[in-house]
Assembly symmetry: C2
Homo-oligomer: 266 residues x 2
DNA sequence: CGACTGTTTGATGAAATTCAAGCACAGTGG
DNA sequence: CCACTGTGCTTGAATTTCATCAAACAGTCG
């Protein structure tokens, strides 16, 4: 199989997106170009790799979605990230030459492999490839820090709202509706990821629906009032001047955080 | 491989550690070898770089300590990391080609510069250098995730205890006493980093002192009962079998998390 | 000395968890 | 077709942790 395996279809040559693929999704384009890609299909509940597995390759999500988690010593799960088409996976393995995460698919998904040899060659010989890998890994850390900051400084309702808006943004970047979200993860996963009880997630979703901010039908969520949702995220619980800050600027910064290289690639 | 650089002098030629330099501190040795290093001294409160500054170099802490922080939209600080001798700084800049953090020194400190050109050359031409940079950056992300996990699953007392034990481990790895800690950061910094109120930090330290776990004298902390402190971190707030888990295994895992390459370098 | 930052301690309150119970939906098998 | 079972989700009531507010104290430095 080669890089041309998507060419003949209406889907994007490199990242299997149906449209709106004029910019790099998570900076993986150079890798995809340089490498001979092989891909494989997984189903809901399958694991791509587990903590402790040998670190042999990096992966790129082509379609579907997945979660990465670690296990605490008490053997309970902590979800650290969700992955969507175009995302690069597996860089957790560089630290110990073993994978540190479990990656589990949330639905039927397809994934490309890039062998470590290929990654090495790319990083050694391609300036762009090097930049993209380092940029993506740096960004991973920044995103985790952002997440940490959210837990420290935002209330539950703000975190959940932020989560929905982030998801909306990600899906929009991949050519899907920014208002109609189909959650591929359970409430348990969301609660785990955001560090709250499932009951809290459930209560907050109900409350948001009652306020007319969203419409909830099982895993289908419709965002009815995104400007107001943005305000909720920005409002300092302690200050009276809720929503006074520049929402557009905030949205732009968020966007820049997820797609840092768009400026350099266009 | 690179462990012989401590041989000839009482102070380490490369990382300014007085002793116990038989293993790589945070995997920066290859970088230090390849480069012609220049270093500079900073004082308490000085900044190495700020968010938005041009990304021109990476840095290695030689002595002293520093904190990295980001600013929220409400303009309050969130500390994301503390740095000690041997630590690599500045990889936050890869994401946007601008620094994302503010790095501020907590005491008089010295720092080495590695220009981006030098970093590029190293990564392109040295297999070991490449591994070390990628490993360090991967580890940064894993550590942030660990931190996130701690916030989600541990109580305040557990997080603070964990913080002290981690600090102890770091200092011990750098040849200092693992029992006698001199905090270079304020209570405010600690509270900010751990996501709690200063008052909580203060109360918990007092409480731990009353239980005979530690002795507190301003910034001087003495760890009096580290095994018990480990138990506190491990005990699930909900289970009755506190401290039943394998403390040694836990300590080893923690250690492995901070020093991933020690196994590959010895 | 007084102004300052950094820290401690107490009283109160709010946010979110835990415990407990029940509902909705999908798949299975009689 | 309908009970039966399991998973995922919702809702209510009581509890707990921790933050906030308020005040006072301890060292430091100009």
């Amino acid at each position: 199989m080669s890089t041309s395996h998507c060419k003949s279809s209406p889907t994007c040559e490199y990242c299997a997106l149906s449209r709106n693929c004029t910019e790099n999704i998570n900076s993986t384009s150079a890798m995809q170009k340089v490498q001979v890609l092989t891909h494989k299909i997984y189903h809901k509940g399958d694991t791509l790799f587990c903590a402790g597995n040998a670190f042999n390759a990096l992966y790129i999500m082509r379609s579907g979605s997945a979660k990465a988690s670690t296990m605490t010593f008490e053997a309970d799960e902590q979800i650290v990230d969700f992955y969507f088409p175009g995302d690069l996976l597996g860089t957790d393995g560089f630290a110990h030459k073993l994978h540190a995460h479990n990656v589990t698919f949330l639905e039927t998904s397809s994934v490309c492999y890039i062998s470590l040899n290929a990654v090495n060659a790319l990083v050694a010989h391609s300036e762009v490839g090097r930049q993209q890998l380092l940029s993506t890994m740096s960004l991973n850390t920044l995103n985790q820090q952002q997440q940490l900051m959210n837990v420290h400084s935002m209330t539950s309702i703000q975190r959940l709202t932020r989560f929905l808006l982030d998801l909306s943004l990600k899906l929009a970047k991949r050519g899907l509706s920014s208002q109609q979200l189909t959650l591929s993860m359970t409430r348990i996963d969301i609660a785990n990821y955001l560090g709250m009880a499932i009951e809290t997630v459930s209560r907050l979703l109900t409350s948001m629906q009652q306020q007319g901010l969203i419409h909830v039908q099982r895993r289908q969520i419709t965002l009815l009032n995104m400007p107001e949702m943005n305000k909720i995220c920005l409002s300092d619980p302690f200050s009276q001047t809720a929503g006074e800050y520049d929402v557009m600027q905030h949205a732009m910064l968020r966007s820049a955080t997820e797609y840092p290289l768009s400026g350099t690639n266009m």
